[in-house]
Symmetry: C2
Subunit: 365 residues, 2 copies
């Protein structure tokens, strides 16, 4: 399946922080065909550093497919023979959508730290414009994992009538203090890079090492103690004995370094600052979700699917259960499963054999 | 109780990496009195960034006591009316013992990265010299938490006859790949600091921000998801509403920043590199502990106490149980408890009401 990145352009967006964004680009990709009634669409929302490249390849020779290719395509869990699938990038990002690396018309230079703060609600409001552009009044489903799950939940709160179902994987109704803390050290690693220059690095060397460290921290949180034992153990890298060196003795170190190095090829440090902050601000905790869902204009057929993963310590299962309880409190139909997996948070990207039947059954019911 | 830091000096030490250290200083503190038979001594070993200041104050006006003051003193779990308590700093450190910030006689400048790599075994071999200096042939107990527990385990392997008991808290027989990974990102944060200068920063500005970030990462691992909820929640710092700022919106961020800033007042960045590496190298995993304990010249009365803490995700309880199994395999007397606590890894420093009776009973039995 070949995919193509498209850019949706719209005039302006009022942000939660009080500022207004103008002349906005939003990257997206579409798969399958929108039917005449425009009632076969599914919106998929990506995680922190994801993008609109959900499935397939741009050209046949691409080495990598989109980030949820296991789940999206002809005859897959999200069947593109049947559904019209939209994956929207987030504003604040750096993969075709407006973000800190975009040109600020006032200065003719990239925004950098002059870019206004964005929130999950702002991301969702931008996506709503895209759905309007397609003329879609009712989605089959609004689906996301991790930060994508936060967006799906925000869709339910802000545009409740716009989807027949909401699927939230490996996510939470709020960012926990532990996760705020983990984001904070990542941000500091970027801002302590010699090249960061208060965010004005676009015309010179970039804060690659700092961004790479931030990614390494984050990557640890995507795995699990168990999966790291299994994947790396204490194996030393390409040699028989320890060398007594500060770096790259152990396979796990080389792997993380590789993850950091790959990441900086595709991500902008300022976008990382802004998007982590947006996640930190997400807060339907402490009973707020119960209230936020009250008396909303949901479709009478609406249903929710909440999925957590047993070894996910970034968004542990109890946080998914808190969402379930808030839905039940509001008499909303909800299915929940805690899927046994050793893959940690990344399980929502990897456990296709366990996940696909669940998703397929839920979406097609 | 007033305490005083002492320096023990000895000639040389053969290191595991193959190099030899000369003219070694080792900082220590002592509490209580060594009896005539020299058979009432307890050796306490500190964690990663601890030091010899175990208990009491240096002067009455000190704001802080030693790091295990809750447990060590007259009539406390480790009763200094009864026992002679020694706390030895580790080589490689920066609190009075020889380490990378010590003067290299060859260059008349601090060693920096010319300091040889050290291991947990090297630390223990240095401590053994201190025990010999006191003329102690048999300790009542050899006790440590976290990296201190690794040292206590190494004492059991390397000098088995030298203690009647070994107490290992919140520790492991090996450093897991997850923990190697967490150390690695801390080290990279230091080495990416503009002031790090390949470890030659002693005559100029120090890599404070990098070291502070490393400490912030580590500090997160000392707490637990639950204790962070309880301690900070999502409270915002000293204001009513979010300001939309990249730093210091949330209390947890300010707390971490404070921890980082405090740490750089007392710790040397190169020592942090060397000591984290020593921990990474610690490896009695994959059945190696079983073998290492076989046919050792333990006192016939020897006994072990292994304690883990339910919310410790840095050295999870299963890792303590692996130690227990290796001891049982060798028919060594072992008591084990998994103490229910929400304090995470730090529980071994904080849970004095739960821990003190256990320690007291075990030591005095």
């Amino acid at each position: 399946m070949l995919s193509k990145k498209e850019i949706f352009h719209f005039d302006s967006l009022d942000l939660e922080c009080g500022e207004v964004l103008h002349n906005i680009d939003l990257a997206y990709e579409i798969y399958g065909k929108l039917n005449e009634n425009k009632d076969n669409a599914i919106l998929v929302l990506h995680a922190l550093t994801g993008d609109s490249h959900l499935a397939g390849k741009y050209i046949d020779s691409d080495l990598k497919t989109g980030w949820w290719d296991k789940f999206v395509g002809p005859n897959k869990a999200i069947d593109t023979n049947k559904f019209f699938v939209i994956c929207s990038n987030v504003i604040g990002g750096c993969s075709g959508s407006m973000g800190p690396s975009s040109l600020n018309p006032k200065t003719n230079k990239p925004y950098g730290l002059n870019f206004p703060f964005i929130t999950i609600k702002d991301m969702v409001k931008a996506q709503k414009r895209l759905i309007d552009f397609f003329g879609i009044k009712k989605l089959i489903s609004c689906i996301g994992g991790s930060m994508g799950g936060m967006q799906a939940l925000e869709w339910a709160v802000t545009f409740p009538s716009y989807s027949l179902s909401f699927i939230i994987l490996a996510s939470s109704a709020y960012q926990s203090p532990q996760n705020i803390a983990l984001h904070e050290v990542g941000r500091r690693a970027i801002m302590n890079d010699i090249n960061w220059n208060n965010g004005e690095y676009y015309a010179s060397a970039r804060p690659d090492n700092g961004l790479s460290i931030a990614r390494m921290i984050a990557h640890i949180t995507y795995l699990s103690d168990q999966s790291m034992h299994h994947k790396f153990g204490r194996r030393i890298k390409g040699k028989e004995e320890l060398n007594f060196e500060l770096h790259n003795e152990f396979e796990v170190e080389s792997y993380l370094e590789y993850q950091g190095r790959s990441f900086i090829q595709r991500f902008d440090a300022n976008s990382y600052l802004y998007i982590t902050r947006a996640v930190d601000y997400f807060d339907y905790g402490d009973g707020k979700l119960k209230l936020a869902l009250q008396n909303k204009a949901f479709d009478e057929r609406v249903k929710f699917l909440i999925l957590s993963f047993s070894s996910d310590w970034l968004y542990p299962s109890y946080q998914s259960l808190e969402i379930v309880k808030a839905l039940q409190y509001n008499n909303l139909a909800v299915s929940y499963a805690d899927i046994q997996s050793s893959f940690g948070h990344d399980a929502f990207l990897l456990e296709n054999e366990k996940l696909s039947p669940i998703l397929k059954a839920f979406i097609n019911f």
